[in-house]
């Protein structure tokens, strides 16, 4: 056999071996990795799903219209899609180990996108997730509220209406674009009131290097179709008539914009002071609208404050929002605190409110911040 024949024969042999291996793998996937019908028991019989095994738990639940919050689209990086598996769980995968604390592992908490459904499972999830739906909508209006904050008004298409409580959030899907190979999901509080069932408004701040916000600010336009799921979250006005102290900054405005309009529509007379912090006047928005709401709602007071040194002509409150709260709030006993903003603002606000006498269990904010 000459050299050329040897090379050709070797190439054919290698190619045939690779092809045969691929066929074997496909057959194995089809027959050996087919785990057949499996049952997923949710919340001790509250719901029983008959599913075909073989796919990750997160995707399997999603196929059954049960949406677990997930930011990375099931790639095992965000660690948001945790569920408790009380029976039938496989051993913890190395990809999960890096995302679970020791305590979570002891409590059978798992990363649902990394757990394959291979047999019957019993899981526990918050009942509220049964009401979460996947929505398709169209961007009806997009407007800049400040130099780096944008409002999206989305008209719902399918389903055509949403039910939620003011303060809850949705997960907006940023589709694959550029170097971003797969859709990602980011949480945004709903800024519209629940009475506007056919729309959802979101307030989004541009995050440098952010996958979703870059898409919103540079690619998304009015008339485009968008997808999101929700509603999620426990942040909401507590029952009762306790006086409220709201503190927000930047896009943390969103839930309070919806809550205030909801209170106005339902003639809620509950006393409330809303402290909104910004650095400069260019960072303020909805100021006129909130001052109008003050006139319509006797118990409601809006206190915008600027912390920057160069704010010529500003006659309102000055200083960090936490300093302004400290000056205005004499005694927090009997009151409730509601916060939305960056983690730094929330940490500082919790400290001030506790020092003023509001117990920690009466201070509310969403964990996604």
């Amino acid at each position: 056999m000459d050299g050329v024949s040897f090379v050709l024969t070797s190439t054919v042999v290698v190619a045939a071996t690779c092809l045969a291996s691929a066929v074997v793998l496909l057959i194995a996937e089809r027959y050996l990795a087919n785990y057949g019908p499996c049952t997923i028991d949710i919340n001790q019989g509250s719901k029983k799903l008959e599913v075909r095994g073989g796919k990750p738990l997160l995707a399997t639940l999603m196929q059954q219209q049960i949406f677990i919050p997930s930011a990375c689209g099931g790639r095992g990086t965000c660690a948001y899609c945790k569920v408790k598996i009380t029976d039938g769980a496989p051993p913890i995968a190395p990809t999960e180990l890096t995302l679970l604390t020791d305590e979570e592992q002891q409590k059978n908490v798992r990363i649902s996108c990394q757990v394959k459904v291979r047999n019957d499972l019993a899981i526990e999830i918050p009942e509220a997730l049964f009401r979460v739906k996947q929505f398709t909508g169209v961007v009806e209006r997009m407007r800049d509220l400040t130099h780096d904050i944008r409002e999206l008004r989305i008209r719902l298409v399918e389903p055509a209406a949403i039910e939620f409580t003011p303060g809850q959030y949705v997960q907006l899907e940023a589709p694959a674009y550029g170097d971003n190979p797969e859709p990602v999901y980011r949480a945004y509080s709903i800024a519209s009131p629940p009475s506007d069932t056919g729309h959802v408004e979101l307030i989004i701040r541009l995050v440098p290097n952010g996958i979703c916000t870059t898409w919103v600010f540079t690619m998304l336009k009015e008339g485009d179709e968008v997808r999101f799921n929700g509603p999620y979250g426990e942040f909401r006005l507590a029952e009762g008539d306790a006086e409220m102290v709201w503190i927000a900054g930047g896009s943390g405005m969103a839930p309070f914009w919806g809550m205030t309009r909801h209170m106005r529509e339902h003639n809620v007379q509950r006393p409330c002071t809303y402290f909104f912090g910004a650095v400069a006047q260019r960072d303020l928005f909805f100021t006129d609208e909130f001052h109008d709401l003050e006139k319509a709602m006797p118990g409601f007071r809006f206190v915008p404050a600027l912390s920057g040194a160069e704010n010529d002509g500003w006659t309102g409150e000055k200083g960090l929002i936490t300093q302004v709260v400290e000056r205005h709030l004499k005694d927090g006993s009997g009151k409730e605190g509601y916060l939305c903003g960056s983690s730094g603002m929330i940490d500082a606000s919790v400290k001030i409110l506790k020092a003023k006498g509001i117990p920690e269990d009466r201070i509310f904010y969403d964990k996604f911040t």
Binding site: C72, C78, D179, R186, V207, I211, G249, D283, S342, A348
Partner: protein, 154 residues
């Protein structure tokens, strides 16, 4: 090391579009091990350690975060401004939990030199000795850090 499955997972998470739009490696053509080795040597040449650098940067981050967006003076030369962002981001090395988003711009107004700090970036310096790749917005070039922060008495 190229066949180390853990390292491959780390590299996958560092790619652009996975955890952040631009990823963590910037336009740096060097393999990750080379980036880590070079920065380890550069930090040692400054007479300090990854842990000490991270501790100094952590102090700056905490002071800037307390400013809630207002520029804060750091010592008598530097200014730090925190830009808030909601949400958290996991460490690409895995197993370290998640870190609040948002960035701090640390500037020397006299020279105009500046660096961007994040909670995750500082964690990666202290725990993994990773200063991010060249060309990344959040690259903490050790020599630039040395000048700006006067590390190692520089």
């Amino acid at each position: 090391m190229e066949h180390d499955p853990h390292l491959q997972r780390v590299l996958d998470r560092m790619r652009s579009g996975v955890l952040s739009r631009d990823g963590f490696l910037g336009t740096d053509p060097r393999p990750l091990e080379e980036v880590l080795d070079a920065d380890r040597s550069a930090v040692a040449a400054l007479g300090t350690t990854h842990e000490e650098v991270a501790a100094r940067l952590g102090e700056v981050l905490d002071k800037a975060r307390a400013g809630l967006g207002t520029p804060i003076r750091i010592g008598d030369r530097l200014v730090a401004t925190h830009r808030e962002a909601m949400g958290r981001i996991p460490c690409p090395f895995g197993g370290c939990g998640t870190f609040p988003k948002g960035e701090v711009e640390l500037t020397d107004p006299a020279t105009g030199e500046s660096l961007f700090l994040t909670a995750l970036g500082i964690h990666m310096v202290g725990k993994h000795g990773f200063y991010q790749g060249r060309g990344s917005r959040y690259r903490l070039e050790p020599t630039a850090l040395g000048r700006l922060m006067q590390l190692g008495g520089g």
